[in-house]
């Protein structure tokens, strides 16, 4: 015992590998189980999307499709309205994201630097995000039907702006508050206008936050369900609207729906992977700073 380092109570000091609590085996086991559990439904969707019809509802379930049946995808795109859904989703979510970013970033800068509206305005903006969508669904529906704009791109885009603008404002505000005003001030001293200082000095420095918020505004608008259903009568059909309508039919075409679901999931997963470094900040509304 004389040579071995011990703690005050005489227990030997653990070796570096084991000294952080549970054994490393548990770490690997736990993470493997987690990966299987959290990815299985995704795998199931993907595999169903390439299963021939006979295997869709097979009992016992078919874990590995016997052939690559890509007809599901062509059927989904051309017969089930998947292509239209994809186009509509893209139009609505890209427009709402871009406009939301433009308005929200300026609003955030204003809130962060000039304390526009005091503390209450920014909290009010945040509270819009906490509201259950159902809560404003009826008033908004009445509003759009009075204007005769139900089932138009404009209605859905403006509706989404009601969420993306506050979201972008809130996250970007926390970011602008973090960066020191010194740089813009030196630009201002050197003769640049406010707008130019913002454009050429602040924005390039805000790139990580801009990417993160764009990513999340896009994911939100791409996925949104409540208003996609509420404000659609069959002309503007985003992917989240199409899926449940297909599931309500008498004979559920599992493979076709799985194909549409996979198509709907793909863009979001791609951007999330491409921009994984920026995920945390957007996810936590900027409450946790990272990157």
């Amino acid at each position: 015992m004389a040579t071995q380092a011990t703690t005050r109570r005489g227990r030997p000091l653990a070796t570096p590998v084991a000294r952080r609590g549970a054994p490393q085996v548990a770490v690997y086991l736990g993470l493997t189980l987690a990966l299987v559990f959290f990815l299985f439904p995704v795998y199931w969707m993907l595999s169903t999307s390439i299963k021939p019809p006979i295997e869709w509802l097979h009992n016992p379930p078919v874990f590995f499709p016997s052939q690559l049946y890509f007809r599901n995808y062509t059927d989904a795109l051309f017969d089930q309205g998947g292509l239209k859904g994809l186009v509509d989703s893209a139009i609505v979510s890209v427009t709402a994201t871009v406009i939301g970013m433009a308005i929200g970033t300026f609003a955030a800068y204003s809130l962060a630097r000039f304390k526009t509206g005091g503390t209450n305005l920014s909290f009010f903006i945040l509270s819009v995000l906490f509201m259950p969508p159902v809560a404003i669904a009826i008033p908004m529906f009445l509003f759009w039907s009075t204007l005769g704009l139900v089932d138009t791109y404009v209605a859905l885009i403006v509706q989404y702006l009601l969420f993306t603008v506050p979201f972008v404002t809130w996250v970007m505000k926390s970011f602008f508050e973090d960066i020191s005003p010194a740089m813009e001030e030196s630009a201002l001293v050197n003769g640049a206008g406010r707008l130019r200082a913002f454009w050429e000095v602040v924005l390039p420095n805000a790139r990580p936050a801009l990417v993160a918020t764009t990513l999340f505004a896009f994911i939100f608008t791409w996925n949104e369900f409540t208003f996609a259903v509420l404000l659609s009568r069959g002309r503007v059909t985003t992917l989240p609207f199409i899926l449940p309508t297909l599931m309500e039919s008498h004979y559920i075409l599992w493979g076709d729906i799985a194909a549409i679901a996979a198509i709907g999931a793909l863009p979001v997963v791609i951007v999330a992977f491409a921009l994984q470094r920026y995920l945390v900040r957007g996810l936590s509304f900027g409450a946790i700073k990272s990157t």
């Binding site: 993470l31 439904p41 199931w44 509802l57 599931m247 936590s284």
Partner: protein, 270 residues
């Protein structure tokens, strides 16, 4: 908001008029309101507890992984970024009685098969399972980011001074993670109180009213009975509840920081 004080109803010919607090008084006598509140609270409490527990365990595990941490965190996150439509579809397939994978696994284990979303008792727990699946990864990522931002010197110091892994976790890591945990819990709380789309697609509030949560009941009142004023009152009550609960959690999470810091110092001194 103004609507909640009127008797506005889409099917009524009479113009809406101001009825003061009558909608709110009616709420108190509405057994469906109370049951929906109970359902929402049970749902929120169970998903938050399980997600926080499992999320924390996974985040700690991830933190100890020698490599590929970021990749695994991102892959894990896929459920949280999927559309509720996609999620509902995936689980509809898994919940299928005859050909669903869940019942297949139960049969393999010689356990009784379930009807999942179709049974009055099981429907809510099926929704808890789906929510657990969708949002635990989100919890993991937040907590993992929180763990990464901790000052490692403090934790190392505690180790060197001889506290066990459990002690470090309890007295150092968790108190330091307090803010992150509060944020995660509040975001999930809001999510649980807002949850509508998945319920709409998976159970439709049923069987009966077994999964009629507050937002879903708001929807039923507004879109099935067209009692818009009452529905607005419901959403306002929901909003107040979320705000109060979030305040309570924030207060609870931030108050005892002095005490835990002291505890941390004590551990180091010991």
């Amino acid at each position: 908001m103004r609507l909640s004080f009127t008797n506005e109803a889409l099917l009524s010919v009479a113009p809406s008029r101001f009825i003061g607090l009558k909608n709110y008084a009616d709420l108190l006598h509405d057994s469906l309101f109370w049951s929906s509140l109970l359902i929402t609270l049970v749902f929120a409490a169970s998903v938050i507890t399980i997600q926080l527990g499992v999320g924390l365990a996974l985040a700690l595990a991830l933190d100890r992984l020698p490599r590929f941490q970021q990749v695994i965190a991102t892959v894990l996150l896929i459920p949280s970024i999927l559309s509720p439509s996609v999620v509902s579809f995936q689980w509809r397939a898994l919940f299928e009685y005859d050909s669903g994978v869940l019942n297949y696994v139960l049969r393999l284990l010689h356990l009784p098969v379930q009807t999942w979303t179709a049974s009055p008792k099981g429907a809510l727990w099926s929704l808890v399972l789906v929510d657990f699946w969708q949002w635990t990864p989100f919890m993991v990522l937040l907590l993992f980011a929180g763990l990464k931002s901790l000052p490692h010197s403090v934790l190392e110091a505690a180790r060197i001074d001889g506290s066990s892994g459990g002690q470090v976790l309890l007295f150092q890591t968790l108190p330091l993670l307090r803010r992150v945990i509060a944020v995660a819990v509040i975001l999930r709380l809001i999510g649980a109180f807002k949850l509508f789309d998945i319920i709409y697609m998976l159970t439709g509030g049923g069987p009966g009213t077994a999964t009629e949560s507050l937002p879903f009941y708001t929807y039923v009142q507004g879109f099935r009975y067209f009692t818009v004023g009452y529905s607005a009152a419901l959403s306002f009550v929901t909003l107040i509840l979320i705000t109060v609960l979030a305040r309570v959690i924030l207060g609870y999470m931030e108050r005892p920081i002095g005490r835990s810091l002291k505890a941390a110092v004590d551990v180091k001194a010991a």
